[in-house]
């Protein structure tokens, strides 16, 4: 009986949390499209999410591309299929690894920062202060971050794609001894528009999720430093899990 009531309680908690998140999302989206707008804040967030994340995303993509080429070679060489490495690298990077790795890295960097900043504002009554100063916290804090996340992740992933492919190229040419012209030809030969576009569409969805979870957890943080710490952890963990789940769903949608 205790076991069943435990399951029931957990289900109710899950449904309540899902409902709260759905209401938060609907409210946030409605404020994204209704004036007043805060272009200065939007640009500030675009710089924070996009430009300031470039080093970490670029390095991640570079080493991912390099490792991918190396691992593919050790596997494919057994079957005399090493000529397929360029295609494997470019498709893996553009379709999956570029958006997913960038999403996870940005979730750790930006999602945590958003939750910590808004959470601190919540527990120090700065969010309440916004309301008393005739400023809607959803418009001022949440909407710019959601828009910036959704717009900047595809830009980051485009850069990550190029750097990742470049990483694979460097390893293939300078370590594995491939012919540069043949490698580039193979890279371009099997790459289709949908491969890149699907990756960018995933990136937009991941950017939205990262910002949403950062804002949602920060906005609902309670207590003091411990509450903000918990909100930060929840933001990163929930965003990371949702990125992996939605990646599967979108992959099924684009390529099934």
């Amino acid at each position: 009986m205790g076991f069943l009531s435990g399951i029931g309680r957990a289900t109710l908690v899950f449904l309540a949390a899902t409902g709260r998140l759905a209401l938060f999302t609907a409210r946030a989206l409605s404020h994204c499209v209704r004036p007043p707008y805060y272009p200065r804040l939007l640009l500030q967030q675009m710089r924070e999410i996009g430009y300031n994340s470039l080093p970490v995303v670029g390095l991640t993509a570079l080493f991912t591309g390099m490792v991918l080429a190396l691992q593919s070679y050790t596997g494919f060489a057994r079957f005399n299929a090493s000529s397929a490495i360029a295609t494997v690298v470019v498709l893996s990077i553009t379709r999956e690894l570029g958006p997913v790795m960038a999403g996870l890295m940005v979730a750790g960097r930006v999602g945590a920062a958003m939750a910590a900043e808004i959470g601190t504002m919540r527990v120090t009554e700065q969010v309440d202060a916004l309301t008393t100063l005739s400023t809607n916290p959803f418009k001022y804090l949440v909407a710019p971050r959601l828009l910036a996340g959704t717009l900047m992740l595809p830009c980051l992933v485009l850069v990550a794609d190029i750097i990742g492919v470049f990483g694979g190229y460097v390893v293939s040419i300078y370590r594995l001894g491939f012919n540069p012209a043949a490698y580039l030809t193979s890279t371009a030969q099997y790459l289709e528009t949908i491969d890149v576009v699907s990756g960018l569409a995933k990136a937009a969805a991941f950017g939205f999720i990262i910002a949403l979870m950062g804002c949602y957890n920060g906005y609902h943080s309670k207590g003091g430093a411990q509450g903000v710490g918990a909100a930060t952890t929840h933001a990163v963990v929930s965003a990371s899990i949702m990125i992996l789940m939605i990646n599967y769903l979108l992959t099924g949608l684009f390529f099934s």
């Binding site: 009554e125 005739s134 400023t135």
Partner: protein, 264 residues
Amino acid sequence: MSTVSPQSATPKIELVGVKKAFGPKKVLDGVDLSVAKGESFVIIGGSGTGKSVMLKSILGLLRPDAGTIKVDGEETTHIGGRARDRVMTKFGMLFQGGALFDSLPVWQNVAFGLIQGQGMKRAQAREIAIEKLAAVGLGPDVANLSPAELSGGMQKRVSLARAIATTPEIIFFDEPTTGLDPIMADVINDLIVKCVRDLGATALTITHDMASARKISDRIGMLYQGKLIWQGPTDAIDDSGNAYVDQFIHGRADGPIQMQVKLG
């Protein structure tokens, strides 16, 4: 405050039977309150008696479970959207911890309501912010500092400047002297009296600092167990005839108010 408030037929703020509970804990249990236009009303009471919840309910930051709240005779208990935005333009608030935006310099904190709330040009808003900072005894040299670079007393002053920057009709003060030394607390009290008088605003303050309460109020009310158990003119508080009020204003451990303290 020593000046007698001008009375008006419609109260500036009116609460009737306001109730608010968090789970099984009743925080407000039928609060009735009426504050006239231009009056300075102070609510005293121990920690956790619902003072801040009452202020936040009036501001619409919390929604009461029952009862009505009126501002200028207009029911505001359940309004939202633009109607709430319009009502909020009447309010200014000084928060207990200052609640200054640490990502913005001091002048932008003070000018925030003017720039974001009223759409004023930044240059003009900056001039007004400097004026308001001067009104609370701070020079233009602090305008570009970050709130983190200010002492607690200076942060309270900046917060007061922000609360009065939009020339509000109603100002709320949440524990304005908490955490300050006695001299700085008195400075803040003087500034509150001056600012409220200059603006002709209605003031509602919550505090457990009796020196502050006596100095800034026309009337005082005591909140205990979610109810306003006594209210009257400031001069009458020493002769309230209420054992709870007597115990509180004299700060005695013995009396009808029992603190739950676990020793050992």
